[in-house]
Symmetry: C2
């Protein structure tokens, strides 16, 4: 996926929202935004917005003298998500099809993104997905694969959301899966700190991908990650960032589990913002972000 | 008024909208947006957004090799506005209080801004203002002044909109008023070409302010305009751009007639987007954009 002009205003709005929430000190704001504008004035638009965003946030964190501007928001998300997970865990375990229910809750959890006040959204989305169809639903293929394949990689996405991934992992019931997060803070993406907060490291193998893009850009990931990625028989990829980075790979058994949140991506794959999908990369290989 | 961070994304969204409508050739788009970003990376944020916008659009027009990107939209607006004016002229002339009705229609006309497809908006807004109160209403003071003062300046705003100003001028019934527009194309603001299209030059005195900011920045206007401005006993200022430039002037008999269209201005003066006002600058002098 290339960087579109709309990606610039999207990113700037995100940055200005950080300013308004006081998450970047006022004394740094003008310098930060000017550096960001100067960066965009010189970018190669054929680059992925994941890369642009990664580089930009490196600039922001450095100039704002703040290694993790989203820390407070992320901590709030984690605490909120735990609350909801307790409630839905009970529903999953008592249901006729815990695997299906846990998958639905994990995908619904992808609604968690930026900013506080999402509690009603989380509940609303989970309730919706517990009762409605996914817009694309390859979940049966995923469930079949989960029973028969060996090397499973699970690419996490956002803080908070990963507690629902944990619930799904618990129901899958295998401890030989590898759960992956970003190497260091970027936006509200989950890192190893969040993995440990939820104790996912006690359930399955955990690792970082060695990079701080808000998605998976294979060429920048660590050799250790690349090796495990190459060997994987099944990859569960959560969220739009991972989908952006991997959507053009045609020969890996990847399942993309996400909510569509960007109109450019939505248009590109013929979906709408807010659509939830469970999509096998091997089925309909033309389904990729242009 | 200083340039806010939100002004950047507002302006960029406007530019991207021009791209999407094909009003700037695709081959120039990347260079244009990069120049605009580079410009913003170096601005003085204490400057008025009117000035920032003026300079930016000079850059855009030059790089896009297009002296008037909004030409097509403006021509459409003019044609549409004529249609509606015919209808409302009849209502005004048959009413018990033509001056009040014509003022209401002139202020409602300020809804005309950017892009096509505004016809329903225009009708809806005129109907609304014919029957509802202004949020701030100093129109009685304006009507009193119109009867007794000598030198009247009328600062126009947008293409299309000025046909409703013409109707108001017809009802005022004085040919010694001076109607003013921008000196050359900027956004969808009216210029002398539009004044002539509607024949306003046959009704009253007309002139440009000598500048191409999308509002009135006195320090950049021509000596001829400044002289007439200084002498004016009454100034009717249409639209947000003129209000932005003149709102801090405390000792001129200015009446601001406009629809509030920007949340920063709305917050600054304690109003809401979409509010219509007829505001005397001499009454409550603290009413100025900070």
């Amino acid at each position: 996926m290339k960087t579109h002009f709309d990606c610039i205003t999207c990113m700037l709005n995100g940055l200005i929202s950080l300013f308004k929430q006081g998450l970047i000190e006022e004394k740094y704001q003008e310098t930060v935004i000017k550096e960001v504008l100067a960066y965009y004035a010189n970018i190669d638009f054929s680059q992925s917005p994941l890369l642009t965003n990664r580089n930009l946030h490196r600039v922001i964190r450095k100039i704002a003298n703040n290694p993790d501007p989203y820390k407070k928001l992320k901590d709030n998300m984690n605490k909120e998500a735990v609350k909801y997970c307790e409630k839905y865990k009970d529903i999953v375990l008592k249901s006729d099809n815990p695997l299906d229910k846990a998958l639905r809750i994990a995908v619904a959890g992808n609604v968690i993104d930026f900013g506080p006040g999402h509690s009603i959204e989380i509940e609303k989305n989970i309730e919706k997905l517990l009762n409605e169809d996914f817009v694309i639903d390859d979940s049966q293929e995923l469930f079949n694969d989960l029973k028969k394949v060996k090397n499973i990689l699970y690419l996490g996405d956002n803080t908070g959301e990963i507690v629902f991934d944990k619930l799904f992992l618990e129901v899958i019931g295998r401890n030989d899966i590898t759960f992956v997060v970003r190497n260091s803070p970027i936006l509200n993406d989950a890192t190893m700190e969040d993995v440990k907060f939820f104790g996912i490291d006690k359930l399955v193998n955990v690792m970082t991908n060695g990079d701080d893009a808000p998605g998976t850009l294979l060429e920048f990931t660590s050799p250790e990650f690349k090796e495990i990625f190459d060997k994987a028989d099944l990859i569960i990829s959560k969220g739009q960032g991972n989908f952006e980075g991997l959507s053009e790979i045609k020969n890996k058994n990847i399942y993309f589990l996400l909510m569509i949140k960007c109109h450019i991506i939505a248009n590109s794959v013929g979906l709408k913002n807010g659509d939830y999908i469970v999509k096998s990369a091997l089925k309909n290989k033309d389904f990729a972000i242009k």
